[in-house]
Amino acid sequence: MPSQRRNFVLTASLLLTLACFAAFAFNKKKEKNASDPSQMDDSRRALHALQRLTFGPRPGDAERVAAMGVDKWIDLQLHPEKIDDSAVNARLSGFRTLGMETREIVENFPPQQLIKAVAEGKKPMPSDPVKRAVYQAQIEKLEEKRERKQDAAPQTTASTTPPAAGSPTQDQGAVDNSTGSDSAETSKPSVKDEQASKRREDRLYADLKAQELLDLPPDERMKQVLQLSPEAQRALSLSLKGQRGDDFTMGMNPKQKETLQALNNPQQVVGDELMQAKLLRAIYSERQFDEVMTDFWFNHFNVYLGKGADRYLVTSYERDVIRPHALGKFEDLLVATAKSPAMLFYLDNWLSVGPDSDVARGVSKNPYPRRRRGRFPPPPPRQAKGNGKRKNGLNENYGRELMELHTLGVNAGYTQNDVTEVARVLTGWTIDQPQKGGGFKFEERMHEPGTKIVLGHKIKEHGEKEGTEVLHLLAHHPSTAHFICGKLATRFVSDDPAPALVEEMAQTFLKKDGDIREVLKTMFHSPNFWGADTYRAKLKTPLEFVVSAVRAIGADVSDAAPLARQLNTLGMPLYGMQPPTGYSMKSDAWVNSSALLGRMNFSVALMAGRIKGVQADGDRLAGSASPNATDKVEPDPKQALARLESSLLAGDISKQTHDAIVKEIENPTGSSQATSRKNDKMPASSTGTIAGLLLGSPEFQRR
């Protein structure tokens, strides 16, 4: 049966491709024919534009876009700077890390290496009382851990580090069960009794303390917290889970809230804020297209938040590298990523040492030795020099992905030799003091001397400029133009975009110096984009699905962390794609059983109010036109269904889906609830359930 299905799909996509060709040829002939059957009719244009340029229409969006004129609206979205976005900025104002330099993030939310350095006296304890409290609590945590390890307790870490909201897993990779499993809680028999009881006592005390502090005004409460002993602070922060935590932080300012979270796990604050901000922007930003493009380019130049230093480098990466160039020149974007500490770290280029460089040959330092304080991880020069264990320190990781994933595309004619040569060119592109959150640095002593040949071009020895020259070469290569345009068309038009469309876009790319905005304009003005067969042809990714659902119901999100966790369940953790390929934009990656069940369950849970932090109101959604109606009457289910079909799916609903829901309304199946209401005129289904069914329907999975 599945193989049958595959045939089905194959045939269907073949037909689709043929149809696209036909449509294209047809359009060339009579471009302006309004009644062209291969083109979308006007009623659908606004909705289609919204489906593709935003994270999904909100109630009333289609009407607004139609009123403004679709072309005008697209043009406005292409110039996000003209759109006021103060509302979403207000929602983000509580997340201080979003505006911090990397150095500040490291200082305020110290990674474990820094904590260790301070604990060992290699770095001074900060004098600021808030920072000091965070550091002390972390040192305490470290000691607790050490004690337990010495006592041979099994699976030590889980109980002290609750998983971050939607955080990608830790060092060990994809499925790390040292976090997030509750197993450790239940099976640690060998912790010494007295310690266990001491800790229990601490917890008890922390509980009492929290209760006592609750009665104080927020500022005073925080002041008291800062005066507690590190042990008590840690115990307190651990006790503040769920509702308890919400109560305790009530009325506190963002810094105070962050500090409380940081007492327990400072690194988590950074990832948490990043993820929440991404979701809130996707849901509420008026600059929707800018968000979509930022997401697109982040995914194209993917870095993984769970890899070491990237935990504190990604904030700046998205803000300073990706977003400012999302609609700019491709070369600028490429160079910015190549020089970003996040990418240098993620793809290891910061460690790459030329085999004949001074560092590799152990040539002694420059005449004025710089002072090096304890670095973590240790700087490559010292490591390579140490005992000569690695003569060839060349790392090809970035050189390969640069061509394969970022520019030319796989099988674009470059050779292994080109990969090695690009890696040699880029030796010395490293990070200045990574442990402090430093920026890009060109280290001459790591750089491979001599001339290099890349794609047949001679790159003369010129230090850092060699890299810039190669990036320029790659950014303007015809293969790059086709690869990038193909990927854009796959995201915005269809899984298998018409070659003619990609070609047209690539021509713009090459003519306009890689101007992304111009390339997008070409795409949005192509009849291919408006082909009748592209309407709802794309399957939503989990991110697109979750955000579009929240937008469609006009929900109010007070806490986006639970939504981020939902994305873990749905297989698309934010900033959590480990391989450099980024997430797939095609349907086959996202259509699997557990994922589909996950979507249905999410839909039902969302409308049942079971996703914390998200207020959904099905009745209001299906309700009367007058929102200020005071007497709340449960609407007739069939009327509600009709309204919801129109507001959630613009009426694009199949007979099968409609009938299935009607059947459920008329004759609720089997459940005890249904039988008890058998004679009711109003059957069991509430508007929320109907909305949940619609969000989980096949139709809503498409955009």
Binding site: A152, Q155, A174, D348, Q578, S584, L596, N601, Q656
Partner: protein, 413 residues
């Protein structure tokens, strides 16, 4: 097949190991009552994430260098569970010893990936994609294993991962299920009031005109229904199958339920973390002892629990790389190279440590610090894929790796 003959040999050993539960197929087979051909064969892959310290798991107690390089974390010879006079199991793995004695547990030492990376991140990726050094491989080798072999009836449970997400090893063209908790696989979990909602969704998807979603939707509800009617929860662990508490034990317990419920599981995957012991690794007691106890008890319980079904099952374990031969300054070990793999199952020619031993003298170490790889992990897996699952298209499962049957270790005979 040779099973029957081998089983005869084992029976004498079984008598000695009175404590271990004896899978009944062994006794039946000894009486010549079982016809092993034609039954579905299955492969279970276990990943030890975090780089397990193979040298303290299967200890080369006959190597003087081992003791010299690990003054504080070695496993003393008197504590090792000797296997063959040279290697021995860590003492907290005693639950696996009976399976070794029965001849259903084999070991490959000094196995690993040829890629020199010492990054967890890259190495796990390579071991799951099955293409060391190639980062752009999109699918996992376990998925390709299914993709390159015919199947008349593809059960929705043909490929399954125990855990919240579909791991890289199982991603790809073939449908594969990720099941975290079998009692919550469905719409609305255990809530009986969710039944109508589930039915409505099913009606939508099974009749949908959406070609892509229709198929998967149908598969999904097939799986949900199969699960419901098979009710795997009713298969309680067999007597003597004492799964340890925790995620890994839960995973294997549920996997055994799915297998016992006859849902058509062909390949399965589960993982266990907590192996990255840079500090205070411990020796006979301590961190490694604890995680090994969990690991071994879960595997042994799984084996006991499967009973007869163990005859058609092969379990292979792997970890991204081994750890340094020397202990470091923190009584731990750092990232190394080669490691140990276990193979357990009915058709396994166990009771033997396979693979050439490279030695631990300074000149024998990889880059002067780690156990050298003498057996490519794909060699070990390739044998299971070909000889157990009957898929001979290894060029598709492990592309660009010469893997002729002649080079197999022959742990499957």
């Amino acid at each position: 097949m040779s099973i029957t003959r081998r089983v005869f040999f084992r029976n004498s050993a079984l008598a000695v190991v009175g404590t271990a539960a004896v899978p009944s197929f062994l006794t039946r087979a000894a009486l010549g009552a079982v016809e092993p051909s034609g039954r579905p064969q299955r492969l279970v892959v276990i990943f030890q994430r975090g780089a397990a310290d193979g040298l303290n798991i299967v200890v080369p107690h006959g190597e003087r260098a081992y003791y010299a390089m690990r003054p504080s974390i070695n496993i003393p010879r008197k504590d090792v569970l000797d296997l063959d006079g040279f290697f021995g199991l860590h003492p907290s793995m005693s639950s696996l010893q009976p399976i070794w004695t029965q001849g259903h547990l084999a070991i490959v030492h000094a196995a690993g990936s040829p890629d020199p990376t010492r990054s967890h991140f890259d190495a796990q990726d390579f071991m799951e994609s099955g293409t060391p050094g190639m980062k752009v491989t999109i699918d996992g080798w376990l998925n390709r294993t299914l993709h390159s072999m015919p199947a008349a009836d593809k059960s929705a449970f043909r490929a399954i991962a125990l855990g919240p997400a579909l791991p890289r090893i199982l991603s790809g063209a073939e449908p594969a299920l990720a099941v975290n908790n079998i009692s919550e696989f469905g719409v609305g979990g255990r809530n009986p009031n969710a039944a109508p909602i589930s039915n409505t969704f099913e009606a939508m998807y099974s009749q949908s005109v959406d070609t892509v979603l229709h198929g998967t939707g149908q598969e999904t509800f097939d799986a949900v229904k199969m699960l419901k009617s098979a009710d795997p929860a009713k298969y309680k662990p067999a007597p003597g199958a004492d799964y340890p508490r925790g995620r890994f034990g839960d995973s294997l317990r549920q996997l055994a339920q799915l297998i016992k419920a006859n849902l058509g599981v062909q390949v399965a995957f589960a993982d266990i973390g907590g192996w990255d012991h840079h500090v205070n690794e411990g020796s006979t007691e301590g961190q490694i002892a604890n995680v090994l106890r969990d690991f071994s008890q879960a595997l042994s319980a799984f084996w006991t629990d499967l009973g007869d079904l163990g005859e058609d099952t092969v379990v292979v374990t792997m970890s991204e790389f081994g750890r340094t031969a020397r202990e470091n300054g923190n009584r731990g070990t750092d990232h190394g190279h080669a490691n140990v793999m276990f193979i357990m199952g009915g058709p396994v020619k166990g009771g033997k440590v396979y693979g050439p031993w490279p030695g631990l003298e300074q000149s024998q170490l990889y880059e002067g610090r780690d156990l050298a790889v003498t057996t490519d992990f794909r060699r070990v897996l390739g044998e299971a894929v070909t000889k157990h699952l009957g898929n001979s298209h290894l060029e598709q499962v492990f592309p660009e790796f010469e893997n002729p049957a002649g080079k197999f270790l022959r742990y499957l005979g």
